[in-house]
């Protein structure tokens, strides 16, 4: 008679299903299909898809590439820590190092241009959280993630670390300038 007793109808699997229940199951199924198609649709027509381009790397290899990029493209330094501000060539490659507890260097971009930003970590996991745009990407040591980004508006943007990375996590703040 109830859910805490064996089904009163021994052959319960032969009982017909009510129309209303069928209708609800159909709605749930079709909605699942719509949500499935939406993701594929967005891959074809949407303008915000996370890149698949990833390479295995090591902290040493990635740091060497990033240092070369910084040496070639630095336009000035900022703050008393002399953090280099690096202008990424339009349409070119930029490197962003995540490490305890900083995003390095500061990148300078132009709006409307497309950049290939290479992300990797030197140590623990970090979280690339671009604010106030609110784009969030996991940064993992040993993986070089190449994300194509096109800023849509000029301004000063912050990179918050939003993957817990130890005691200094809350002070890990980076910067991107968009002209």
């Amino acid at each position: 008679m109830s859910a805490i007793l064996p089904p009163s109808e021994r052959l319960w699997w032969k009982q017909p299903i009510d129309k209303v229940e069928w209708a609800w199951i159909a709605i749930a199924f079709i909605w699942g299909m719509v949500m499935f198609v939406m993701m594929i649709y967005w891959h074809v027509y949407g303008k915000q898809n996370l890149s698949n381009e990833t390479y295995k790397t090591t902290p040493e290899m990635f740091a060497a590439k990033a240092e070369k990029f910084i040496a070639e493209n630095t336009v000035r330094t900022e703050t008393d820590q002399q953090i280099p501000v690096v202008k990424v060539p339009a349409g070119g490659d930029g490197y962003l190092i995540a490490r305890l507890w900083a995003w390095y260097p500061i990148l300078e971009l132009e709006h409307g241009q497309t950049y290939k930003i290479h992300l990797s970590s030197m140590d623990y996991l970090h979280g690339f959280s671009l604010q106030p745009v609110n784009i969030n990407i996991e940064v993992i040591p040993g993986y070089e993630h190449v994300v194509k980004m096109t800023p849509t508006k000029a301004g000063t943007y912050a990179i918050v670390c939003n993957e817990y990375c130890g005691i200094g996590h809350a002070s890990m703040l980076g910067r991107i300038y968009v002209k």
Binding site: S2, I4, W13, P16, Q81, I135, M149, E163, H169, A170
Partner: protein, 564 residues
């Protein structure tokens, strides 16, 4: 092993002696874990409340790690062990398989719990619930979780063996009850989950003592979430089973269709544990095809299952109420429900909050591209506080109001406060979840000590609305902790000081569940079908909210920087 069987005079439930003691001890261990989790919750809340910011950074991360472990693993799984023993031995009226082994499992879980907590509070293991490598905790942090998991796995084995005993000793006829079927689902998922956990935590333990040199950080995330998310699916199965249980006990409700409800549980087994992939949607190491496959094909069948339960549980209640004569309008059945009974009110708030808040936010969060807007923001804990807290924990709290008299033979003390508690806890926790999601939508990070970024080389000023949301998080968080604390107080108070109740007749033999007579089968068949228009309206409301919220987030996504 000789044992006895007690038939509770109030509920008619039959408790086997060993199973009963195990249920009590597991439930009590769970409540102790909840107490530790609740105290740490208060400290977490008071630190994230920007106006208060109670703890320094190191203590905050330590306490947050303890909160996650004590709540998500210890409280929930201890309680689930009690649920498994109840759904097997009590509902099927049979002896528990190998009670000595079950006790060994329990003590293994206790030792593991203490070991991990000691590791955390020693201060060298503030690695969060997820303990992502290469950040390393003390070896006994991992070892404690492994011992606890082995204990839980043995507990699942006892449950399976008890089902076999009931079948062999013919204590019931036909199929197992739906609630037991739900518990079986939970136990099967638990087995998968714990094996995935062993697959990652054993190597991590060996790595922490220096026997393994390196663990790939991406691989860790993938396998760990086979434990981390699937363990939440155990909770879903368990609390859905409890919804059916409460509907059955309070209303005498029977499932609208055994076939549909059981099929929905089956979908959980087939698809839910694979949904773990949705934690990796913003990771570098997986392809878009892999992400889409795992979030849609695998996840949406599980979503469908939850939508089915979301319909059939209130549907069963509506049908039972309408049979009793509450047939006016769409909602008389709901208006005339026993809102003053905490068993029902807790269960119904759990159902609504889990469906409207936890369910919808979970699916949106688990959409491949939309995930980028929310990954690792405060939205994520907002989401799971409306699934695992207002969903699972509140359902467990509600069923406890039922179990204290029948299992512990004590009357609940302070009935007025018992009436209030589910509302206080359920509503404040639901609002807490909502404002947390609001803060996350504005970008605020989870697991983050300082919105002001003190010590950083730059400044970033969050929008004022984000501070407002975090302030509200503080207020409703404190209210929710009060609601949870009140429950602990009422339960512990009742166990100690509640009026002792008659335990009922004790016998050395179990009384089997009487077989269905031809007559009762005939009554149940076809002719007594009742339409459930109120539930249809509620379900459509859920669906409309779901669709609107889903597309609003695509709109948000279309406004950010272009990414490819």
């Amino acid at each position: 092993m000789a044992t006895t069987y007690r038939t509770c005079p109030v509920s008619g439930l039959q408790f086997e002696d060993q199973a009963e003691k195990l249920m009590r001890w597991n439930a009590v261990a769970g409540v102790l874990a909840l107490l530790a989790g609740g105290i740490t919750a208060l400290l977490v809340i008071l630190t994230r409340w920007p106006a208060i910011k109670l703890l320094p950074a190191d203590q905050f991360y330590l306490i947050l790690t303890a909160h996650g472990i004590d709540m998500l693993i210890l409280w929930i799984i201890f309680f689930e062990m009690a649920v498994l023993y109840f759904a097997s031995s009590t509902l099927l009226r049979c002896r528990l398989a190998a009670p000595k082994v079950a006790w060994a499992a329990f003590w293994l879980m206790v030792v593991g719990s203490i070991m991990t907590n000691v590791a955390i509070f020693q201060g060298e293991s503030s690695v969060m619930f997820t303990s992502y490598v290469p950040m390393q905790a003390a070896p006994h942090f991992y070892l404690g979780i492994i011992l606890f998991a082995v204990g839980a796995l043995i507990g699942c084995g006892i449950f399976f063996a008890t089902l076999v005993i009931a079948k062999r000793e013919k204590t019931y006829s036909g199929s197992i009850p739906l609630v037991t079927f739900g518990a079986l689902t939970a136990a099967i998922i638990a087995t998968f989950t714990i094996l995935a956990g062993a697959g990652i935590l054993l190597p991590t333990f060996l790595w922490s003592v220096g026997l393994i040199k390196e663990i790939d950080a991406q691989l860790y995330r993938m396998v760990w979430w086979g434990l981390g998310h699937s363990s939440q699916q155990i909770n879903v199965s368990a609390h859905v089973a409890i919804w059916y249980l409460i509907a059955a006990v309070v209303f005498g409700a029977k499932p609208l269709s055994e076939k549909v409800s059981r099929f929905a549980f089956l979908l959980y087994i087939l698809f839910l544990q694979l949904a773990s992939a949705h934690h990796l949607l913003s990771d570098p190491g997986m392809s878009a095809e892999w992400k889409v496959l795992n979030t849609s094909y695998f996840m949406y069948f599980a979503v469908m299952a939850s939508m089915i339960h979301g319909f059939t549980v209130p549907g069963a209640i509506e049908a039972a109420q309408r049979r009793k004569g509450y047939t006016n309008g769409l909602f008389e059945w709901l208006r005339k429900a026993p809102w003053g009974n905490p068993v029902f009110s807790g269960m119904f708030i759990s159902l609504v909050s889990f469906g409207f808040l936890g369910g919808i936010s979970g699916v949106v969060l688990g959409t491949e591209q939309i995930n980028m807007l929310m990954h690792n923001t405060f939205y994520v804990p907002g989401h799971f506080h409306t699934t695992v807290v207002t969903g699972t924990t509140l359902a467990f709290m509600a069923v406890t109001y039922l179990l204290v008299p029948v299992l512990f033979k004590r009357e609940m003390i302070l009935p007025k406060l018992c009436q209030i508690q589910p509302y206080l806890f359920g509503i404040s926790m639901s609002v807490l979840g909502l404002v947390m999601m609001g803060a996350g939508t504005l970008g605020v990070s989870r697991r983050h000590w300082d919105m002001a970024f003190s010590g950083a080389p730059f400044q970033y000023e969050w929008p004022g609305a984000a501070y407002l949301m975090m302030g509200l998080t503080g207020i409703f968080g404190v209210l929710a902790v009060l609601g949870g604390g009140l429950w602990i107080l009422l339960v512990v108070g009742s166990l100690l000081f509640g009026k002792k109740l008659d335990g009922g007749k004790v016998s050395s033999q179990p009384t089997p569940i009487p077989a269905n007579t031809q007559a009762s089968s005939a009554v149940a068949h076809g002719s007594d079908h009742v339409a459930v228009p109120g539930t249809v309206v509620l379900a459509l409301l859920l669906f409309v909210a779901f669709v609107l919220y889903y597309f609003v987030n695509w709109k948000y996504l279309s406004e950010v920087w272009l990414l490819s």
